[in-house]
């Protein structure tokens, strides 16, 4: 027996000796993300940079949240809500049994504190840099606790997009205990209810989040996420290729093809809820003439702008509302590139005195690139030539963004190149702000087309006071048909967010709000 055993052991060793050696794989389910910049702070009420917003969105949650692929609203920390008093009182039932990462229960007190600290300038936890409230939530009159799991919010007037605003990052629900404990230092010690909890932050280097073991929803597959800041774009790509990081943001346009061709990498992209457009000053001739405005739409060739000046990371815009939003009208008139037709229309307009071919018009262009407009000056020059080809002579005025904005709001322009990024993902946030005149508007003044249309105003007002989503969608769809027909703009493009990831990264959720959610992500090794 002893003899047989020895021979057998030797045989096994021999087998191992000649078995092939596979390279070792990493076992822990951690994901390393490379970004261009570090976060600034992690208090959702005062973050303003994309990096901080994205990390906050992994840590915190809101009463309601966006659907995975659109800005439609779903229950989150609130399980249901009712609207009373002609839309001026909203009562939210909170999810029971949810706790913050520090063990504090998520209840009505937490919701009241999270929002009241922003609304009430005399609140003990109020900070002067809660910048979003005045801009986005000023119509909220009061947030009150009804009972442990019920919150009542009173708003000034009937305003359906309110719900979308609650899904926006500043309305995140924060741990009252943590806010009281850390005070001004809270941005460095964030505590929410989200799928990931804060582990550490080494400024200038990395933020580490770890799985929230007590998460109320489906447990996230990842145990840890590390957000590393690697400012150099090429360095990020090298790290991605080598496997030091698994996701890389802000790939250089000229590297996109490289990423697409690389067998280990995948380029993920999503159309972001924003829009770049040319606004015509509709209060002055000849732009008060609908046919002239339509001719301008026919004169602009959007496809090469999108393909060449956005490096392909955009889709041509049909109207002001991006496709991922409620009530997007896929049937709105899309003006083709038809310079001949444009010339014919303009000749007719000139004949009846509505257009003067000899006049020179001003075309205002910003110098500063924006996410929705990466090459503003080049786009401006292409526009100038497109217009010239149909007989509209323009002088280009290029300015820094601040000056550009001031002049456009003052109506100095004939035509101007501009853009807009969604605040809360509601179509109201595009149509009302960009194309209506109403002192009840939520958000900044930006109708730089100075466009007025009573029917549009009526539709938008109705949509604000309607709580039935299907009905609202229909109002917005009609509003877009009016805008398309009346052509106060040349809509140009909705840009795309692209991130490169290694093939083994699965389940990334790129949202139209330009945020990547890691809740469902995992690494397949």
């Amino acid at each position: 027996m002893a003899r047989a055993g020895a021979a057998f052991a030797l045989l096994l060793v021999g087998c191992n000796l000649f078995g092939s050696a596979e390279p070792r794989t990493r076992r822990e389910s951690a994901l390393v993300v490379g970004k261009a910049r570090d976060v600034i702070g992690l208090d959702p009420a005062r973050v303003s940079d994309d990096e901080s917003v994205e990390v906050c969105e992994q840590i915190y949650e809101h009463l309601v949240r966006y659907a995975p692929d659109s800005t439609a609203i779903e229950p989150a920390l609130a399980v249901s809500w009712d609207v009373f008093d002609n839309g001026q009182t909203w009562v939210f039932r909170l999810r029971d049994g949810v706790t913050f990462h520090d063990g504090t229960p998520m209840d009505a007190d937490a919701v009241v504190l999270s929002l009241e600290r922003q609304r009430d300038p005399f609140h003990p936890s109020h900070e002067p840099d809660f910048i979003y409230w005045r801009d986005q939530y000023s119509y909220i009159e009061k947030i009150e606790k009804v009972d442990r799991l019920t919150v009542r919010i009173k708003i000034e007037r009937s305003y359906a997009p309110f719900l979308s605003s609650l899904a926006m990052f500043p309305a995140a629900i924060v741990s009252p205990e943590a806010v009281k404990k850390w005070g001004k230092e809270f941005p460095k010690h964030p505590v929410g209810t989200g799928p990931f909890r804060f582990a550490s932050w080494t400024p200038g280097d990395r933020v580490v989040l770890e799985r929230n073991p007590g998460y109320w929803g489906a447990a996230p597959p990842l145990e840890r996420i590390v957000f590393r800041s690697i400012p150099d774009a090429r360095q990020r790509l090298v790290a991605l290729e080598g496997g030091a990081i698994e996701v890389a943001y802000a790939i250089l346009p000229e590297e996109l093809q490289y990423v697409k061709l690389h067998p280990d990498l995948t380029l993920h992209h999503v159309a972001v809820a924003n829009v770049a457009y040319v606004a015509m000053n509709t209060q002055r001739p000849p732009w008060n003439d609908i046919e002239v405005r339509q001719a301008v739409n026919l004169a602009v060739n959007k496809v090469p702008i999108v393909r060449l000046l956005y490096q392909g990371l955009a889709v041509p815009a049909r109207g002001p509302v991006p496709p991922s939003l409620l009530g997007y009208a896929p049937d709105a008139t899309d003006y083709p590139y038809d310079p001949d037709q444009a010339r014919t229309i303009l000749a007719a307009a000139a004949a009846r005195g509505a257009f003067d071919p000899a006049r020179r018009f001003s075309l205002y262009i910003p110098r500063t690139p924006r996410s929705y407009l990466p090459e503003p000056e080049q786009v401006g020059r292409v526009l100038q030539r497109n217009l010239e080809e149909v007989g509209i002579q323009t002088d280009v005025v290029v300015q820094e963004f601040g000056a550009h904005q001031a002049d456009c709001l003052a109506g100095k322009h004939d035509l101007c190149l501009y853009g807009w990024t969604a605040d809360n993902g509601d179509p109201d946030n595009f149509l009302k702000i960009l194309l209506d005149r109403d002192e009840l508007r939520v958000g900044p003044e930006q109708n730089i087309a100075f466009y007025r249309n009573a029917e549009l105003h009526g539709l938008l007002t109705y949509a604000e006071e309607t709580f039935e989503q299907k009905e609202r969608a229909e109002f917005y769809r009609r509003a877009q048909l009016i805008v398309a027909r009346e052509a106060p703009w040349v809509p140009l493009a909705h840009s795309e967010l692209a991130v490169a990831a290694r093939n083994e990264v699965k389940g990334l959720m790129l949202h139209p709000t330009a945020t990547v959610y890691y809740q469902a992500a995992w690494v397949e090794r």
């Binding site: 002893a2 003899r3 020895a6 021979a7 052991a9 030797l10 060793v13 021999g14 191992n16 000796l17 000649f18 092939s20 050696a21 596979e22 390279p23 070792r24 008093d85 002609n86 290729e241 080598g242 000229e254 590297e255 093809q257 490289y258 697409k260 061709l261 690389h262 067998p263 280990d264 995948t266 060739n301 496809v303 090469p304 702008i305 393909r307 060449l308 000046l309 392909g312 020059r381 292409v382 030539r385 497109n386 010239e388 080809e389 009573a454 029917e455 105003h457 009526g458 539709l459 007002t461 109705y462 009609r478 093939n503």
Partner: protein, 926 residues
């Protein structure tokens, strides 16, 4: 090997162990060498991975650079114009620009996609000559796309980079396509930078490699083995081992993608394994030889030692096996074992062991028999209950087990007690014989026979009982005190006696004796008898207890008989009490009504609460209306209306709002229909915002007043509509308050009339009024899910006790509602039966019905089917009582789904009945 014989076993074992230690050492050597080799192997795998990554990077950078080249060339100033002009001008631009490009095939197409120029850069025409350009590549360029992609073609992979040629306004002029085949030169280039050989595959087919054969000719056909291509083209990377041109390589494979993500080929790097394979072979050879030698040596040594040890051990083994089989007479001969070592000692000890084992086994068999008997006796004892029976069983068992001539058991009578309850001390216990068995007499002794045999020994037994100590006499002849007695009892051998003790008391004595021919009793016999004695004592005790219990239960039965008699008489008394109870029923009826009033008040309070909440809500909304009305009034004020028009509008609003406020809101379908019509009418009238205004008007129900409003709407539809809407809502809220107040008044009125307490006063009344009042008051109970259907006939007014009759309705409707459990229909039907001079009121519900077996009883007072606490059971009793008082009848007709209570009352009223009765009595008297 004779020295081995002399060695002690310890030395032999030490030698064996040291031999065995050789094996682990050899194994450790094998393992450590294998770890080193695995490390080398892993290093090689990692190197291959690294080389593959760098190779891929080199390929892709080349591809990317080609894209940059195409783009640069496309944006050459003047190229756009030259494309339109054709070859000479175009040739000039290309000649100027091409030297800046790396070797590639360059083509220029016009804005229709026709190739207008073609140049080979840096290489000779033959190298690039037959590379075509896929149409899709040119088309992408024509769609303004800059694109670099890989396509298989001509048995090779070809990189195509396309870029549109645009003028400053981004108008398309043509496209530039730069193509580079991943050919031998390319592979050599990668090899040069990488330092290892590379292979390129178009799809799964080998396309190119940097390998040369011995004559320097390029090796093309190195196809990937097995399912490698399949797995790599599915997107994986993997490593294999292969022999190429007589050398061993590690090959790392990775897929190549086109721009759409499709896997179109593979890249492989080949890292030589020559050195590693050599090292591995050498290590394996030396290890194998070393291990084989060591094993051979160890085995030879072990074999020898085993032989020396195994023979004597084998014999011991055989002996042990024989003993195991039961052959206890087995002996090992001393000569079998080596007398010098432990095995010899072992053999001797073994032989001694078998001898003592044999002895013990015999003893064990004897004890075993006793224990079996004891167990049987125990079982017998526990299976009988009578004392005598038990004692007999015990004595039988003892006689059988101890093989006695005589076995006798005496019982001690209960000790006498002094007046203080103490046992009389120093008293001689009184014994009586319980059971005995003698070999001289066939059956258990009874009566005189038992006394004859045992009497001589009773003094001996008494002594044992008093001393409470066992006595053993080996030979009675040597014990003069008992000799005579023993012989008289037929015992001439040994005698043994033990007391039976229970707690502190001696309850009996066991005596056994043997003939002189039998062996005397031993100590073991004595302890066995003691065990019997314990069992016997327990059995006696149990049997006594049983007797006592039986006596007690007989007493109990007698008591029960007595008690039953008492109860029977009490029952009769109870019957009388029930009669008295019935007499007090009238009083209870009254208190039931008071209790009903209490729950009624709670219900009414609840009823009043709803309208007051409505009022509160409406008042809030009203103030909001006023605020908004002021705002819209301002908007209307700003409209360009003439004073007359404004007055007309305000008058119209004044007239419309209250009217519209009262109007019923139409169905959603009707609203949509009206909205379509109104919007169309407004649009036809050229009113801006027709859609919104139209919906607003329909919302407040103003669709019928459209024509009057049209001129005003033309001036400013949104403000006009908003004003009208707010004004109408203001009135609606006011109406809401008014209605709520009316409702409260109605409830209070009903309560008043229901509860007016002019008892026992007959009033001529409309029965429907009473029923309606009742329904109003029970409204809180009925409003959710119970539908009330009234089928009222024409009834004359009837003289009744109004308030009492209301209680009849209340009870019937309340019962119906409870039977329905909150969901169903209650029909109230009234009719006049003229011929009979009666009115009938039926309360019908579609509940589960009343079971037949209780239908007879439901009118009895205190009969209730409700759970305890829900009802007193007086409800229907009261109904019958009251209806009787009116000279009417109440009847029940119930089936599943229809239960109907019919109350019939005389049209002439209760007085007529009283009069009738009086008349009847009068007649009798007469």
């Amino acid at each position: 090997m004779s020295f081995l014989k002399r060695l002690r076993l310890g030395h032999k074992l030490a030698l064996s162990l040291s031999m065995a230690a050789l094996l682990p050492v050899a194994a450790a050597a094998v393992v450590s060498v294998s770890i080193v080799l695995r490390g080398l192997e892993r290093g090689l795998a990692e190197q291959t991975t690294r080389q593959l990554r760098v190779g891929m990077n080199l390929v892709l950078r080349t591809v990317e650079r080609l894209g940059g080249d195409a783009q640069r060339l496309a944006s050459t100033p003047g190229l756009g114009a030259a494309v339109g002009q054709g070859e000479p001008a175009l040739g000039e631009v290309l000649t100027r620009e091409l030297p800046h490009l790396p070797s590639a095939m360059v083509r220029v197409a016009d804005d229709k996609g026709h190739i207008v120029a073609q140049r080979a850069v840096g290489g000779d025409e033959p190298r690039f000559g037959d590379i075509g350009v896929p149409a899709a590549v040119v088309e992408a360029g024509l769609a303004y796309e800059r694109r670099v992609t890989l396509t298989p073609g001509q048995g090779m992979l070809v990189v195509h980079a396309v870029a549109p040629i645009v003028d400053p306004s981004l108008a398309l002029r043509g496209v530039v396509v730069v193509s580079l085949p991943l050919d031998g030169d390319f592979a050599d280039g990668i090899k040069g930078a990488l330092g290892t050989d590379v292979l390129i595959y178009a799809g799964a087919d080998p396309a190119m490699s940097s390998f040369l054969d011995h004559d320097g000719a390029r090796l093309h056909g190195l196809s990937a083995p097995g399912d490698v291509a399949e797995r790599v083209l599915a997107g994986g990377t993997l490593q294999i081992r292969a022999t190429i041109a007589g050398e061993e390589f590690s090959l790392g494979y990775a897929p190549l993608k086109d721009i759409d993500g499709k896997h179109v080929g593979m890249l492989a790097v080949a890292v030589g394994r020559g050195a590693l394979a050599g090292a591995k072979n050498a290590a394996f050879r030396s290890l194998t030889l070393g291990a084989a030698g060591a094993i051979a040596f160890a085995l030879a040594l072990a074999g020898l030692l085993t032989r020396r040890l195994s023979r004597p051990i084998g014999r011991l083994h055989a002996g042990a096996l024989a003993i195991a089989r039961g052959e206890l007479d087995t002996r090992l001969t001393q000569t079998d074992a080596d007398p010098g070592d432990e095995i010899g000692d072992l053999a001797r000890a073994f032989t001694q062991m078998t001898a003592s084992l044999r002895e013990n086994q015999d003893r064990l068999a004897a004890r075993m028999r006793e224990i079996v008997a004891l167990h049987e006796a125990g079982r017998a004892v526990s299976s009988v209950l009578g004392v005598d029976e038990v004692l007999r069983k015990i004595v039988d068992s003892i006689a059988r087990v101890l093989d006695t001539r005589l076995a006798a058991l005496w019982l001690v009578d209960a000790p006498r007690l002094t007046d203080d309850g103490e046992i009389v001390p120093e008293d001689r216990p009184t014994l009586r014989i319980g059971a005995a068995r003698s070999k001289g007499i066939e059956r258990p002794l009874e009566g005189q026979g038992i006394l004859d045999v045992t009497e001589p020994l009773s003094d001996f037994a008494t002594e044992v009982a008093r001393d409470r100590f066992p006595v053993r006499i080996d030979d009675v002849d040597e014990a003069p005190r008992f000799r005579t007695a023993a012989r008289a009892a037929g015992i001439d051998g040994s005698l043994l006696a033990v007391p039976l003790e229970r707690g502190n008391l001696v309850v009996g004595v066991l005596v056994v004796g043997r003939a002189v021919t039998a062996p005397p009793f031993t100590g073991a016999d004595e302890s066995l008898l003691s065990t019997f004695a314990d069992q016997a004592a327990t059995a006696i005790e149990n049997a006594r207890l049983y007797e006592e219990v039986r006596a007690f239960s007989e007493e109990l039965e007698e008591k029960v008989r007595l008690r039953t008699r008492e109860l029977t008489s009490m029952n009769a008394e109870l019957g009388r009490a029930i009669g008295e109870l019935r007499d007090t029923q009238a009083q209870l009826v009254f208190s039931e009504r008071m209790a009903g009033l209490g729950s009624l008040v709670a219900g009414v309070a609840h009823e009043i609460n709803s309208p007051s909440a409505a009022i509160r809500g409406s008042v809030d909304a009203l103030s909001e209306n006023v605020r908004r009305l002021a705002k819209t009034a301002r908007e209307v004020g700003e409209l360009p209306l003439s004073d007359d028009d404004r007055k007309r509008f305000l008058a119209l609003a004044e007239e419309l709002a209250p009217r519209l406020a009262e109007k019923r809101v139409g169905s959603p379908a009707a609203l949509r229909r009206h909205a379509r019509q109104v919007v169309a009418r407004l649009a036809a009238a050229g009113i801006t915002g027709a859609e919104v205004a139209g919906r607003g008007l329909v919302e407040i129900g103003a669709e019928d007043d459209l024509e009057a409003l049209l001129p005003l709407l033309a001036v400013g539809a949104p403000a006009i509509v908003r004003y009208l809407r707010e004004y109408t809502y203001l009135h609606r809220n006011a109406f809401g308050i008014d209605n709520a107040i009316r409702q409260i008044q109605r409830i209070v009125g009903a309560l008043k009339s229901y509860s007016h307490l002019d008892q026992a006063k007959v009033e001529v009344t409309d029965l429907h009024e009473g029923i309606e009042n009742t329904l109003t008051i029970l409204h809180h109970e009925l409003k959710y899910g119970i539908q009330i259907t009234r089928k009222y006939g024409h009834l004359p007014t009837v003289p009744v006790y109004v308030d009492e009759l209301n209680q009849v309705w209340t009870n019937l409707i309340h019962n119906a509602a409870q039977a329905l459990r909150g969901k169903g229909e209650i029909v109230i039907e009234t009719e006049l039966d003229e011929p009979a001079g009666m009115v009938r009121v039926k309360v019908i519900d579609d509940g589960p019905g009343i079971p037949t077996e209780i239908r007879e009883r439901i009118f009895e007072p205190f009969f209730t089917t409700k759970a305890k606490g829900e009802g007193t059971g007086l409800g229907l009793g009261i109904v019958r009582k009251i209806v009787d008082k009116h000279g009417g009848t109440v009847s029940l007709d119930s089936a599943e789904g229809r239960t109907c209570f019919t109350v019939s009352l005389l049209v002439s009223g209760p007085k007529a009945k009283i009069a009738e009765e009086e008349a009847g009595q009068g007649a009798q008297v007469a």
